[in-house]
Amino acid sequence: MVDIDVGIPTAFDPFAEAKDSGAAGAKEYVHIRIQQRNGKKSLTTVQGLKKEFSYEKILKDVKKEFCCNGNVVHDKELGKVIQLQGDQRKNVSQFLINAGLVKKDQIKIHGF
């Protein structure tokens, strides 16, 4: 019994690294999608940003930068999702990278 206690140090969390990398690493992608609306209008959605970020502030800056409207939608399964008017996929990914919110390899741009 004593041996086992020694073998498992309590202060060390063996999954700490995995958790960290899981949150910031390969697994958690930020998905940027596009959706067609009527006519040539479209909608861009940004899903999977970290929960710690203030979505409202990001949205405000994004709106100002790209001159488009948008809002934050609460989805039951996916949490908060940013919606923007128009095809802003390139813009948004560039913005997120430049602002240092997301790394480039974590962004996945969907759609055509």
Binding site: Q35, Q36, H110, F112
Partner: protein
Amino acid sequence: MDDEENQNQIKDEVKDDAADIAPFDPTKKKKKKKPVIQDPVEEESVDTLAEKTESLSVSDGLETSFAGLKKKKKKPVHTDLDDESENVGDELDDTIGEDEEGEGIVLQQYPWEGSDRDYEYEELLGRVFNILRENNPELAGDRRRTVMRPPQVLREGTKKTVFVNFMDLCKTMHRQPEHVMTFLLAEMGTSGSLDGQQRLVVKGRFAPKNFEGILRRYINEYVICNGCKSPDTILSKENRLFFLRCEKCGSGRSVAPIKAGFVARVGRRKAGT
């Protein structure tokens, strides 16, 4: 002509296997090039009957870049050598030039012949690639491309798009149409279904180019083997996980399941909800 025959002899000495493919005859140069191009396509069991005007090439060969490199590297190497080898180098350049003109055969006049200098790495590498390219072109690294027909797309009304040769493309990729369909629909963020003639009807307006881009991504993710880049793979489902197994090299990997993600509500809302 004399010169050519001389080269011919040398070539036969170096590679006796090459003689099996076709008897070397300087007059038939142009004929010999043809099987070299078409063989790998047939081997990949892609239907060659289709017009390949716009082919989805997934991984391009390194032939062009390699040839360019060879030619560039050659000249500075030979300039500071003695006269004899410079002559030989010029000859080599000529042969390469002929090859690029589409005459067909790489005439094997090695630059080290006639001089007793050491072989250089670039030259030997070029020689190996030439031999490999003639004997079994699928190993030489070039020509390894999946030829797929471009997607044919029709408009149904104004709001729907019909993907006509969807089934064909699924067959060439050896994938279940359902799997491809879920991927396409998830990527495009719309809904759609297969109609009576097994065509894919998608809601929304899409150009063939859009389909092509998405299919390319699909192929990269769910068809191409990571190890050997061959599209000859099998997707199987084990315990709710999708695994990709390569038929050529036997390697396997797991692939991510298709998730639709967030789909925003588009269109008119009903008064009730």
